[in-house]
């Protein structure tokens, strides 16, 4: 018999290494020939979109297009360390470091503009489309390109920035403290169909809401939500390392099953924006959180459908049939 059930899962997740551990990101910004801006930063692109979103943050501070920003990364001889691409920390931590470095760069650019245009001060200067302009007397202006002509070779113009996340160690006795900041929240609802004759669980519908503080790039964010959902789905229904005596028995894709395109369904993704005051333009990472509420939502939906609580993952057809028999 086929039975339908609905379930929800909700989670919150602390960004970064946490628990008072020094969690530092650094960046150097340089004015490059032709007036482009270079970000020198250890941020690693692993498919999460760092290459795009880090440039977007810099472009926002410096009033440039993303195409005018070059990211030089993943080469430890050329740039400062920005920690690991892990713990959902790059958007928040390294995004902050890049924003701070770009703000310092802006101060630097304003100082040099004051000299180049023989101004009394840097007051009233604004950045717009690759130019530094005296807002209330726009005849006074100089482009990044012109500044790059003056400051080249030995005299290269650069600024750096650093961000250290604020967390405190938990008290060993009481467990109290502020071990993480910021937190990210999400909620997922699914509808499943459980076949009580075969033990097969089919997803019918899903809605997934993810708090991102501020979506630097909504398209990339949705992609990560889809990906996290698929991983959560695999975790709940298929993926099993099958460890015996310390050895992984399912060590190939013919045994370790991950979702294919046919196992996935279209998801209604909702991005919730509630800017975080300590984050770059309010943006928090979502890399890991997007996986967390999916399996609980699926298990709750199975319970809703057939009244059986599953306590071990993955819910393979065999396990589900056994659980149904035992509960009868």
């Amino acid at each position: 018999m086929k039975k339908i059930g609905k379930g929800i899962g909700v989670s919150f997740y602390g960004t970064g290494y946490g628990n008072g551990f020094p969690d530092v990101s650094r960046a150097i910004i340089r004015l490059l020939p032709e007036g482009k801006i270079g970000i020198y930063c250890g941020v690693t692109e692993v498919g999460q979109g760092a290459k795009t979103s880090m440039r977007q943050i810099a472009a926002e501070v410096l009033g440039l297009g993303v195409e005018d920003i070059e990211l030089v990364h993943e080469n430890t001889s050329l740039m400062p360390d920005s920690g690991t691409a892990a713990a959902t920390r790059q958007t928040y931590n390294t995004g902050n470091a890049i924003k701070i470095a770009c703000e310092n760069m802006r101060t630097e650019l304003f100082k040099k503009t004051k000299e180049a245009l023989s101004l009394n001060s840097t007051a009233g200067l604004v950045l717009e489309n690759g130019e530094i302009i005296l807002g209330f007397f726009p005849q006074k202006r100089i482009s990044f390109k012109e500044l790059a002509e003056i400051y080249k070779g030995e005299k290269i113009l650069e600024a750096s920035g650093e961000f250290t996340a604020q967390t405190t160690q938990m008290d060993e006795e009481t467990g109290q403290g502020a071990p993480y900041w910021p937190y990210t929240f999400n909620a997922c609802a699914v509808e499943v169909e459980v076949d009580t004759n075969t033990g097969i669980v089919n997803l019918l519908r899903a809605t997934f809401a993810q708090d991102a503080g501020r979506a630097v790039n909504p398209q990339l964010l949705e992609g990560q939500m889809d990906g996290g959902f698929a991983m959560g789905l695999g975790y709940a229904l298929f993926e099993d390392l099958n460890i015996e005596n310390g050895k992984m028995k399912n060590n190939k894709f013919s045994k370790y099953l991950i979702p294919t395109a046919m196992d996935m369904i279209d998801i209604k993704n909702i991005i919730v924006e509630d800017p975080e005051s300590t984050a770059p333009y309010g943006a928090k990472g979502i890399g890991e959180p997007v996986m967390i509420p999916i399996a609980p939502a699926i298990l709750n939906a199975i319970y809703d459908a057939i009244g059986v609580r599953i306590k071990e993952l993955p819910v393979t057809p065999e396990k589900l049939m056994k659980a149904i028999r035992e509960s009868a």
Binding site: V46, G47, Q48, G49, Q219, L220, E222, G223, Q224, M225, D226, G227, G228, F229, A230, M231, K252, F253, S254, I258, P259, T260, A261, M262, M264, D266, I267
Partner: protein
């Protein structure tokens, strides 16, 4: 060693290969088409997908000598005159690429699907790329990309 001749991306190659050389090694190591990726090496992941005489094959499971006389397209053969194929462009525009490892195979499976069925629905697209595993994207943006590519290709015809 056996002498074989095959066409890869419209170019004829004549080469002498070991009997136990796999097509993926011929493509990557001998002919330099590094876009073809090896994931599992046992026909499960689809990362090594190429199009051989109109059909997708896992190039890790095909022996090089079996490709004698065949016509092969790898990811390098998709762009024309320095311009990306509409499917490649659509993958970029739809945000369907994350780490990228599955993408060459995925794009070729999408091409093989659209060559046979120019207007697949979403379920047919799911089926068409179901031999290609992706750990990152959850596939949905690839479906969006395929629908976008269909539009791009129609616009190109006009």
């Amino acid at each position: 060693m056996v002498n074989i001749g095959l066409t890869v991306n419209q170019k004829l190659f004549e080469i002498s290969v070991d009997e136990n050389l796999r097509l993926i090694d011929l493509l990557r190591d001998k002919l330099g088409f590094h876009g073809t990726k090896e994931g599992c090496g046992e026909g499960e992941c689809g990362a090594c997908t190429v199009i051989m005489d109109g059909e997708t094959v896992n190039s890790c499971l095909v022996m090089a000598f079996q490709a004698n006389g065949s016509n092969i397209t790898t990811i390098e053969g998709m762009e024309k005159d320095g311009k990306l194929h509409p499917i490649q462009q659509a993958y970029i525009d739809a945000g369907a690429v994350q780490c990228g490892f599955c993408i060459p195979g995925m794009v070729l499976s999408t091409k093989a699907l659209l060559d046979k069925n120019s207007h697949p629905n979403r379920d047919e697209i799911r089926e068409g790329i179901s031999g290609n595993l992706c750990r990152c994207t959850g596939y949905n943006k690839m479906l969006d990309a395929t629908e976008m590519a269909i539009k791009y290709m129609e616009e190109e015809k006009e």
